[in-house]
């Protein structure tokens, strides 16, 4: 069974925010909503030994998503391929999922009254294309694929590199892995 996942190679990310812009433009997001920000961590250390890194964030498409359990209307769904998304016609805008998500990956759209989030560009993925943020990343810092396919690039990267899942201690089992 397919489980879509994303690997973030933070060694390659240069903090250009191309992924943020691509996502925002293609998903036609309102001004106050950003699905995948790139945060700056640092600089840390003492001159001249300073380090600065960038952390691309987005919905973690958790294997055990607290937002789906919290949704009283079943508008938040985890598909069999691991993509977590919101069925807009079922959402009542109760914000339960926003409060339940420990990653701050969900957003209340005050124009529609419902909740929006990254869905790994599921419509593109179904056509065999890559999510916009992955297709745009010129540094190849974002890698997307099927984690359950041992021949896929994401599977090999997770297997052969030192990776972490954010807030893994919360038992959410995110589908986004960070190489550092």
């Amino acid at each position: 069974m397919i489980r879509y996942a994303m690997v973030m190679d933070t060694r390659r990310c240069i903090g250009c925010h191309s992924c943020t812009a691509a996502c925002k433009i293609h998903n036609e997001l309102p001004i106050d909503i950003v699905y995948n920000p790139v945060t700056t961590v640092g600089p840390v250390g003492t001159f001249p030994n300073l380090t600065l890194s960038f952390l691309p964030l987005l919905c973690m498409h958790c294997d055990n998503p607290p937002c789906v359990d919290a949704c009283p209307t079943t508008a938040s769904v985890r598909r069999e391929d691991g993509i977590v998304h919101v069925v807009d016609s079922k959402c009542v805008g109760c914000l339960s999922c926003i409060m339940a998500c420990p990653y701050g990956a969900r957003h209340h759209n005050h124009e529609s009254g419902t909740v929006r989030k990254c869905d790994f560009c599921k419509d593109r993925v179904e056509q065999g294309k890559l999510p916009h943020c992955v297709a745009t990343c010129h540094q190849k810092a974002r890698i997307f694929g099927d984690l359950n396919d041992p021949e896929s690039e994401v599977s090999k990267l997770v297997k052969n590199n030192r990776t972490v899942q954010l807030l893994g201690e919360l038992n959410t089992n995110p589908s986004v892995f960070y190489i550092y």
Binding site: I31, V34, T39, D69, V92, L95, Y103, H108
Partner: protein, 332 residues
């Protein structure tokens, strides 16, 4: 990942207040029905329990982004909000059917069915306590909200629901004779006035009513201790985020309101209720209600505090707010 609209508003806090208080009132009425020696709480108090829950439901619906789809909240049995919605619905129906048993009208044909009263009391006890507690369960399960996470908040909400429920029962019993006098011109049955006085079996009813201020004071003392302990544990607790969120209550932007809740909503009514002066006890009960709603508004507002990811807060500060001149001209 902006901070806009990322937290519940004051209407949900008011829902928690009314629903919790209604649940507390129904649970107390059920205990008196089952173990009160053949008496009941006042008719007004029994009616106010489900009515408060209904008001709470109204605020919950208004808080939704899509109020006309509110019926959908009954759909996911795994969600705490769904459990709460079902429990409130059952409690309101059961509580109302039980409460009207105190009205001496032929239309209420079940008013003398003693067994039904006991069965409804059992249902009200379970559903009332669940409604009184579920907001705490809902908040305590939010893994990313450091001030709420854990079982402690559940106990605080249940306690507050019981204390506010007791306070409104006390005020209702006081108001019943006044209500009876006001309604006297429109009531044709003399027995109606008797029932409106809130006394079914006078001796135990009076004993319960006289015991209420002491019970409220005891619960307030427990509330004082538990809130102090909760904040102390959070401040010295497991994570830096928990400590920071508690600090907002102790010396930050929420501290003034929290101190107001502790002094005017807990300590002052505790003292007033222990005085054997009816006016002071009434004032104490009113302060309890104001304290209950203040506590919930504060607690819900604490949901702003999230366990932020590295660099996330700095990123938020750089985001446009939408009020920038060039954005208003070119984007919005």
């Amino acid at each position: 990942m902006s901070n806009k609209h990322q937290n519940w508003g004051w209407m949900l806090a008011v829902d928690f207040f009314f629903a919790g208080m209604g649940g507390g009132m129904m649970a107390i009425a059920a205990v008196v029905e089952l173990f009160g020696g053949g008496t009941r709480m006042s008719l007004l108090g029994n009616l106010l329990g489900p009515a408060c829950m209904g008001i709470g439901c109204g605020f919950l619906v208004l808080e939704l982004g899509k109020p006309f789809r509110a019926w959908r909240v009954f759909m996911n049995p795994k969600a705490i909000l769904t459990v709460g919605a079902w429990m409130m619905s059952i409690a309101m129906v059961s509580g109302f059917v039980y409460a009207v048993m105190g009205i001496p009208l032929d239309l209420i044909f079940w008013r003398n069915w003693a067994i039904l009263g006991k069965v409804l009391a059992c249902i009200n006890l379970v559903t009332g306590l669940t409604v009184a507690t579920y907001p705490g369960v809902l908040l305590g399960r939010q893994k990313g909200r450091p001030f709420w996470v854990g079982p402690g908040i559940m106990v605080l909400f249940m306690l507050s629901s019981l204390v506010t429920g007791c306070a409104l029962h006390y005020l209702s019993a006081l108001l019943m004779p006044v209500l009876g006098t006001l309604l006297a011109p429109v009531l044709t049955s003399s027995s109606a006035l008797y029932f409106l006085s809130g006394v079914v079996n006078p001796a135990p009813a009076a004993a319960i009513w006289h015991a209420l201020p002491g019970a409220i004071a005891a619960l307030l003392l427990l509330q004082l201790l538990l809130w102090s302990g909760y904040l102390w544990i959070k401040q010295s607790g497991a994570t830096a985020a928990e400590a920071a969120s508690a600090q907002r209550w102790i010396s930050g932007d929420l501290s003034l309101i929290f101190k107001g809740f502790m002094v005017l909503g807990t300590i002052a009514p505790l003292v007033l209720l222990l005085l054997d002066i009816p006016a002071a006890q009434v004032a104490g009960a009113v302060l309890v209600l104001l304290g209950g709603v203040t506590m919930r508004v504060l607690t819900v507002r604490s949901g702003e505090d999230r366990t932020f990811l590295p660099g996330e807060q700095k990123y938020h500060l750089r985001l446009p707010t939408g009020s920038e001149e060039f954005l208003r001209k070119n984007w919005l």
